[in-house]
Subunit: 342 residues, 2 copies
Amino acid sequence: MVMKPRRRTAPAKMSDIARLAGVSPSTVSRALAGSPLVTARKREEIHRLARERGYVVNSTARNLRLQRTQTLGVVIPLAHETSQPLSDPFFMEMLGWLADAITQRGYGMFLLKVLPPMEGWLTDLIASQRADGIIVIGQSTEHQTLEAAALHYKPLVVWGGHLAAQSYCTVGTDNLAGALAAVEHLIKLGRKRIVFVGDPAVPEIGLRYEGYRLAHERAPGLRAPPHLVSSHLTPDTSYEAVRAFISAGGNCDAIFAATDVIAMSALRALTASGISVPSQVSVVGFDDIALAAHSNPPLTTVRQDIERGAHTLVDLLFRRMAGEDAPSSTMPAELVVRESSC
Amino acid sequence: MVMKPRRRTAPAKMSDIARLAGVSPSTVSRALAGSPLVTARKREEIHRLARERGYVVNSTARNLRLQRTQTLGVVIPLAHETSQPLSDPFFMEMLGWLADAITQRGYGMFLLKVLPPMEGWLTDLIASQRADGIIVIGQSTEHQTLEAAALHYKPLVVWGGHLAAQSYCTVGTDNLAGALAAVEHLIKLGRKRIVFVGDPAVPEIGLRYEGYRLAHERAPGLRAPPHLVSSHLTPDTSYEAVRAFISAGGNCDAIFAATDVIAMSALRALTASGISVPSQVSVVGFDDIALAAHSNPPLTTVRQDIERGAHTLVDLLFRRMAGEDAPSSTMPAELVVRESSC
DNA sequence: GGCCCTTACGAGATCGATTGCATGGCCAAG
DNA sequence: CTTGGCCATGCAATCGATCTCGTAAGGGCC
């Protein structure tokens, strides 16, 4: 599409301010940068003029000259997701905290949501030099892509599960330990048939499933029922999966859901089937999104410290941008017991 | 902070590709742009080389030359919000749809979250020419700022309530009609004491409160109880407000909440106080966020078509960027009756 | 008064792409 | 064989800032 090349009133440029101040653009540049090379008197005069005229440095030109963008790329890959809206509040809360952390550092945030078909999304973003560093929220099923990119491109950090042999830098919760604690909590309550709901193909979820399996292995005489696969981003698929399970006569006394969104859908599916929570079936989620405390009944879940996670992501990324080879970081998970499991 | 000026392996530039292909940068530029001025044979050869070397045009340089950024600014002002996380799923779902709509047009998305102290956030963004157009999600309490900016800057659209005399372009739901329908629904159910929970200082919420008041005026013999003021972004303040209301002996048979987040907190507060929904108290929300259908009981609410809203915002913005003086747009609201009001 | 050193400032190159204009080669018509 | 026209291509200016380097002015000292 063709755009008009110019706005009605072209914004002032540095040379305009220079002319007004009776100096050269060099001096204006230095004055605005607070350089001591320019006399205090002139510096203040230039600042005053700039403020009056509403002059702000053109960031495109500055970035070209300085060979940096003062911007971080934040990518949300949704390969495993067929439906459009990215609605998992966990990602969204993460985005909010990232926005804070990035802004605090004086950087901007270039947001990219990637949907299938996903080809070259990462290499192209890197090559376009639109960002000084990249944060990928969630591995989705793009482990290979990340692996390949990390070989050549250092300022890259990923929120997600830490897999055995991986060369890219991740920040994430100890999914296995968290899941283990959650399921052991259910076992301690005397629950015998605990169903897992989630899609283990996504690395993070896979690790949670491992924790679930491990808890069963450690409990004598307990066997894990077949788990229900369900994409973790839409409430609907999870709801249907649980309802189908129940109406097919599947019986269980607890549900361990891979995310809080799934857990809340499970809660509703159980209620709709006339099953009461927690007296008949206990439900435990994962994430501790803001709404988890406000579901009905409030949800027992494994808390991930999103705020800390966001700050760690940004911190590691800055260290990598500075050339350091900052390593992955795993944060502890914390079981939060509420009324959906008693 | 000082950054290393260069990455370990400097990315290829256009002149590199030109040298490899044995042509001038001009020809490479034209070839990559698909210009018919360059022979098909050469064009393909250049494309092949670029692909092999992973060359992608440096967007900063291109943008400087073309005097545009191929990027839209998306701003979330949170003046009225003291706590940090931006957690209202409504805004987040909007962000997701905006990301889609903007990506579809081949544009990027520069995300900015603005917290107090909010000074010059809009004028600076405009002057920096970082974006070709700006979308502001929610007026917050920044009506004056928007009004002032719109005088000089045309490619600006705002999600929010349409106020009487306003010169900036808004897209929003018919808040008044939606609220009217919701409250009339409650009245038809025989509810007599309907409490409003929300903060009318935010324009959108103010209009919803107007609808609430209007429904009471039209119903003979009905008087609105005092409303509960509560910021609409945190679940906690709303929860506390409702609990305090009840334990202070306030009695009501229905709650009309300004947003779904508030409504879900109210649901939980009622349950915690031993009041059953909907048999004793009906609850109606506003927004129809994804989780509204999955609360317990599922929430009756006023649906805003977020997807359409996002597309309208982007559509109007592009028309404004093209120089057209596109007008505000108000979309119909739709009452969705679920089990929280029967 | 002359010399040197410091200091404030400007001229001009530079970042990497796009594009108007000039040019050289080739083909066809005369 | 010449000449005119067209087409593909390259040269160089341009976008708006930053920063190196050179220089003029000013001040101190002998």
